[in-house]
Symmetry: C2
Subunit: 397 residues, 2 copies
């Protein structure tokens, strides 16, 4: 039998999805599982987006341009102008989800054996995309005690080697919810210029900031050739299943390289582009309602978590995730135990063990990530359940 590749073996299983079999078993036992493990919001996808597809006059569902429909890219250019990012349609490459934007960015910029520095905890799938590109992830620690602020720039300097080619950030952050300050973004700018590094900036959650202002990597002066913006409509419009994102860069050589990867896979999904083009036409105050809803959920979640003895949850400034430190021995074991062995008033909570978000082995064993993507009632019930669980969990420390 022919062998599986080294990449295939190295490829990490999703830490967010690996508990799914235990959740399914709990449901089979009649237990209601409240899913706070995954960033799948219950916010409705805007009707205008779905209507655009329903009403589209399609006879042949054809390939689109490999970079995405020009009409959509022109509208996106207007969307970016509205948030202070000056990019033309020719600097936007429409991708199949934000995921593909990350793959194209890594493939176009990095050689096998190159290193990228990523503040940990970080979005676990960066590991997978790094394996695909043969790239080494070098984590540097951001800590729950500072609310997961950017590590001091000295920490970056310590790990930079001749093979370091870039820094990856997610702002506001998944999994921590941390929103980088202007000063932190300027520090990143400085180190990228100092060492001629790419700055890969995942801004999937930019519309959901609750404290301060979002500073995009593309707002930074003099960094046009270094910044690759990786974007998606998944969270912005609660349309995760659409699979539509974008790679945005003013670096022409990089854009041209990424376009070749895009041509190889022909085009991004056509129906999703129709939806997303309609989304750009939503009224300017569209985000007010979901933002207010997430803020109210965040406040409830953080308050409830910090009211549980031994639990600490810093207040996240954006996105819809919170990282909490729990008085437990092992977050993997705890999250599995919640599904396998615990219920409270017929319910249990599914959370993501933080270990999967750290590159450093052993880190995150007393932390979990909670996505506040469900309504306040569900969050409240989840917190009742977690509070009860921590009273009886055998691994409480």
């Amino acid at each position: 039998m022919p062998q599986i590749s080294r990449r295939g073996l190295q490829m990490p299983a999703s830490p967010i999805r690996k508990l799914v079999p235990f959740a399914e078993a709990a449901r089979r036992k009649g237990i209601r599982v409240i899913p706070l493990n995954i960033g799948q919001p219950d916010i409705e996808t805007p009707t205008a987006m779905l209507d655009a597809v329903r009403k589209a006059d399609i006879k042949v569902l054809e390939y689109t341009h490999s970079a995405g429909n020009e009409s959509y890219r022109r509208k996106l250019s207007g969307y970016y102008a509205g948030i202070g990012i000056d990019v033309s349609a020719g600097e936007i490459l429409v991708t199949t989800g934000g995921s593909e934007a990350i793959v194209f960015a890594f493939m176009s910029c990095l050689n096998p054996g190159d290193e990228v520095v990523i503040p940990e905890p970080f979005y676990a799938n960066y590991n997978g995309f790094a394996v695909m590109a043969g790239v080494e992830v070098v984590p540097i620690r951001s800590d729950i005690s500072t609310g997961f602020a950017l590590p001091p720039i000295e920490e970056f300097r310590k790990v930079i080697t001749p093979r370091t080619r870039g820094i990856v950030i997610c702002n506001p952050n998944n999994p921590t919810g941390y929103l980088y300050s202007r000063a932190e973004m300027e520090a990143l700018r400085e180190i990228c210029l100092e060492h001629d590094l790419y700055l890969f900036s995942d801004e999937a959650y930019r519309e959901f900031c609750y404290e301060g202002t979002h500073v995009s990597a593309m707002h930074l002066e003099g960094l046009d050739q270094h910044v690759v913006l990786m974007d998606t409509v998944s969270k912005r419009y609660s349309a995760c299943g659409a699979r539509l994102g974008a790679l945005v860069t003013k670096n022409k050589g990089l854009y041209d390289a990424a376009l070749k990867f895009a041509q190889a896979r022909l085009c991004p999904p056509a129906l999703a582009q129709i939806m997303a083009e309609a989304a750009v036409d939503l009224s300017a105050d569209y985000f007010d309602a979901p933002r207010a809803e997430y803020l109210s959920r965040r406040n409830l979640l953080v308050q409830r978590l910090n009211a549980i003895p031994g639990v600490f949850c810093p207040t996240p400034g954006g996105a819809f995730y919170a990282m909490a430190r729990l008085p437990i021995d092992n977050s993997d074991a705890f999250c599995q135990w919640m599904l396998e062995s615990f219920s409270h008033q017929g319910s249990t909570v599914m959370m993501a063990p933080a270990t999967g978000f750290y590159g450093t082995p052993g880190a995150g064993r007393d932390e979990v990530r909670l996505a506040y993507v469900l309504n306040r009632e569900a969050i409240s019930e989840a917190m009742d359940c977690l509070e009860a669980a921590l009273k009886v969990y055998p691994g409480v420390v």
Copy 2:
């Protein structure tokens, strides 16, 4: 400025799309360009597929399962059973187009530096996917004089090295239209078993066979652990923009590896899955009409081509492509000249130079690929135009 990766530089530009600027310039001059360069059929996407999306009751367009909706995979299992392929829903991984199935297959099976043997001319994007995976493509020649039959198995043996890990076929073939016989498929089976090679089988065009019977790689005895079927709904249902394909394998280790790549990119497009699930319910005779239409186009195209002095076009047994040998010096120059410098009754023809489909430098300089994806009238006009062009092209030999 940070550098572009070696992969980004090596990545080939699409040979099918590189003439697009010349076509656009011709159109600006008022010339009608008849596009026979790309496999974008004018056959209508089945209404039932589009209606399924229009009528779907969607509130939140959520992520689907990373392997694709189970309901769709169960139906696909039934579709495959109908063509003599026995696979369960758990052996089918739904992908974003056939393209992603090829990437996942290469990534899961092959290490950087490994070699795959591919009969040339071959689908040009295999080159791009090989660059992404760091894999070497080793071409062996199939020749227009035999209608692009599979090269003798001795030719495979000559190029197999310790680094050879697989053979890639496309059946029926893009770009040649060749349909592999049972004997040829058995020869491939033999060499795969002999050298423990993967058989990557791209069967995007299986519904469109005009001579003989389609033999799937999955019909071969004793090759369950070696075969990776790469499939798509793009051509089957004339839904290229949907971006939905499948990787199918009975090799559990390979499936599990591919699923990890699938988890990293979260899920395939949700709306396309709704469409494709409806497609499986189309009546059994759905393919009769498009197949008859393609056959009639093929007959016209091949007859017209062979009636032009100095032109030879073997009759393709399947798909909707024909390769023609023309009495020209250089197919790249000729195809560009057709767009830049020639028109006949206000029209010109866009064709794909065959050079982009060969791995051997210099091969295919007197061949072009024509996709018979337009109606008979357009094909007839295109042939009038080509015939007139070959009377005046300065590079005629």
